[in-house]
Amino acid sequence: MHFRLVRYVTLTSLAFFLVAGGALAYFYRSLSIDNMLHLQESSNVNLTRVFANNLWSSHFLPLLQEAVATAAPDLGKNSRLQEIHRDTLELMRGSSAYKIKVYDLRGRTIYSSELQQIGEDKSDNAGFLGAAQGITKTELVHKEKFSAFENVVENRDLIQSYIPQYDPKSGTIVGVFEIYSDVTPFLATIRSTEQLLAAVVVLAFSALYLGLFVIVRSAERILKTQHRERDLALQQLAQSEKIASLGQLVAGVSHQLNTPLGFSVSNVTLAIEATRSFLLPLRVADRLAVQVRNAPPAERLMLNTADAQSQLSGITVSDKDGEMVIEMLGDVLQGLEQMRELVENLRDFTRLDRTKVVDANLNASLRTVVYVAKSAIPMRVQIVEEYGALPAIECNPSQLNQVFLNLITNAAQAIPGEGSITIRTAQESDRIRIDVIDTGAGIPSDVLPHIFDSYFTTKPKGEGTGLGLPITRDIVHSHGGEIAVETAEGHGTTFTITLPLISRTAPGN
């Protein structure tokens, strides 16, 4: 499984930057605009107050009163309007107000600084309706073309407010002001600040990303190197573990050779001695036979005892001696056969002379392993073989032999006194199942989770590499199989290996 560190970090960072940047921009913009709106609103309110203070009672109040009776189309014809317009212009010159409109409570425009708008009906306008209730309403609008007080302006951002006008004496709402003030420069500033902010954020995030990228890249490189080194180290350790276990095995088997060697050498030496002692009697027999053959057919043969005495007195051999030599040499043949069998089993176990991946029947492999294992484990431990019929499967028998031997020697080591190891094989639908069951001490529950960890061993320091089971598991997995363990403290342990009949992964290495 290859973890693409750089790719994931890049994608995550990008997504994060986009979201964060977008959120920042959005919040800045709406905050500033809100701010601006509030500011401008109060500014507008102030403007209208000034406006009202100056012109209300003199100009607008009478206008309002006259408007009550006037019809909408005629509102523009009111004679006061010229004066109002002129005074309004005077008052508003230089301020940021671009337009002022006044509505009566019925929603009719009784005055607008854009004169042709006088008489329009705004009774269904939400802003007007709100102000008529007493709620000041402000919003930001953008006008492509707009007639301001003295000229037509283009492409301006304006704050539009609907402000209720209260009668100074009675305190009730008598009309609504609509005032536009220009905020184009403000907005422009906001926009440019926003852009600047965006640029700064992008720059900062980019810098952050670059830094991260450099770090992550070198981290990924280090990880790759470590991974490679670890693989190499594991390979070497697997090799040395194999050699070590093979060494142990060879030692055990070579000791076994000593027994047939012992009696064979002893017997042959004695046989040579004995045969030597037969030479004289043989010569005598031969001589006698010659004499008998050559003598004329008479009934008796004369023998010069004085002459023969010295020679024949040295002979003390009997029938039994000849038989003894034959028996001895027969035993030697048996001994040689024992040695041959041992060597053959060892050779089958290591399979050094055969190709690595073959179709093999695991029962045959197990028999070989059991044979060689017997010389590596104490005699108080019995091995019981219960093999079911198995088909041949494609596998690396040399590796599997290592696995089986490892499990058997582990099992033997777990048995403190008398005990047995049962090896059972069976075919289960599409798999082969091999159980190695021992009657040993079992695996304690605090040790069990670690048995497949590399270098984990419960043996005293210096004994055991702690690699047997991890390597066993690797080999089983590389054959597409599984290994499982069941244990009961005080009763024993069972290791179960299942291998697929058709290997899915190539087991060569």
């Binding site: 000791h255 076994q256 050779l257 000593n258 027994t259 047939p260 060697l261 012992g262 009696f263 064979s264 050498v265 002893s266 017997n267 030496t269 004695l270 039994k320 003894m324 028996e327 001895m328 035993d331 048996q334 001994g335 005699m379 108080r380």
Partner: protein
């Protein structure tokens, strides 16, 4: 072929009673081969298991018992231990193709075997060793039983001197703790040191490591045993190869083998028992013959001498302190010769 038919099928030598030998091995081929080899000079009986062997030992008396180690049901060491209990007069020989360290150590400590012989056995040597063993067994009807470990009063009264040779100070502390209040312990950390102490004489027990500094002290033991067989040897060791232990058995007839790390209680018992054994041997020196060793050869003397020379040169202080021991090879050889050669 059972043991009964074997011994009846072979004609008995009509001369005076010969040594009686029992061979035990689970492999019938081995039993037949041993029988053929030994039947010229001895009365040979065989058994294919420890249990069968014990039955024969109870029924008749043997001079020599030879056993294989690796047998089902009862191992050779266990069998020989039982034989020692039932018939201590018989000399015990362990014959094996399998070197199991644990078994070898136990053969020393529990079975007190006379010789440890590897398969394949030497066809000319084995009959000689059996003859030697048989002769000893027949000429010494009394045996040494396991001595009762001495108590403190007896120890102090014995005035025995114990020589300790080890380069680890912890071991010195342990031995002192175990026995220092009742017996004189001579602490040495180098073989040269030890040799000097030995010159002083009257050492009863040697407790030694197998490797002191860079010198293999087992050669010292083996050479010593030839000259001073009354000195009881206790060997301490962390790790010891099978070869080394078997030569310690055959050439050193060591009394006990104590594996490290040393358990305090065990050490105490062993030391006291060693002193008791020394007392036994002093009282009945004829019994020393039961622990007769193989002769160590000249090569052994030479190697020991080399080791000592190099270690002496490595540490200048040793040389100057041990002025008795001459630093030159010639002087060392002379010294060793005086100490070891009869």
């Amino acid at each position: 072929m059972t043991s009964a038919t074997l011994s009846m099928s072979m004609p008995c030598n009509p001369t005076a009673t010969r040594g009686r030998v029992l061979c035990v091995d689970d492999e019938p081929n081995v039993l037949r081969a041993l029988h053929w080899l030994l039947q010229k000079d001895f009365d040979v009986s065989t058994a294919t298991s420890g249990q069968e062997g014990l039955k024969l030992v109870r029924e008749s008396s043997f001079d020599v018992v030879i056993s294989d180690q690796r047998m089902p049901e009862m191992s050779g060491v266990d069998f020989l231990r039982e034989v020692r209990a039932i018939a201590p007069r018989a000399m015990r020989i362990l014959l094996t193709g399998y070197s199991d360290m644990q078994a070898i150590l136990r053969s020393v400590n529990e079975s007190e075997i006379f010789r440890y012989i590897n398969k394949p056995w030497n066809v000319t040597e084995l009959p000689k060793v059996v003859a030697q063993a048989a002769e000893i067994a027949r000429s010494l009807p009394e045996v040494l039983t396991d001595p009762e470990p001495l108590d403190e009063a007896e120890l102090t009264a014995s005035a025995v001197r114990i020589l300790l040779l080890d380069d680890n100070p912890e071991v010195h502390a342990q031995v002192e703790l175990a026995i220092g209040d009742c017996a004189e312990v001579l602490h040495t950390t180098g073989v040269l040191d030890a040799l000097q102490q030995l010159q002083g004489g009257n050492i009863g027990v040697i407790v030694t490591e197998t490797n002191v500094g860079s010198v293999d002290s087992t050669r010292l033991i083996r050479l010593l045993k030839q000259r001073h067989p009354e000195i009881v040897t206790v060997v301490l060791a962390e790790t010891c190869g099978a070869d080394l232990v078997s030569s310690l058995i055959n050439q050193g007839q060591i009394y006990r083998f104590v594996p490290k790390p040393i358990k305090a209680g065990y050490l105490k018992i062993i030391l006291r028992s060693a002193v008791a054994r020394h007392q036994q041997l002093k009282r009945a020196p004829a019994l020393l013959r039961r622990h007769q060793v193989e002769a160590a050869d000249d090569a052994c003397v030479q190697t020991l001498e080399n080791d000592l020379y190099y270690s002496a040169n490595a540490t200048d202080t040793d040389v100057s302190e041990n002025s008795n021991v001459m630093a030159t090879p010639l002087g060392l050889r002379g010294f060793l010769k005086r100490l070891f050669v009869r």
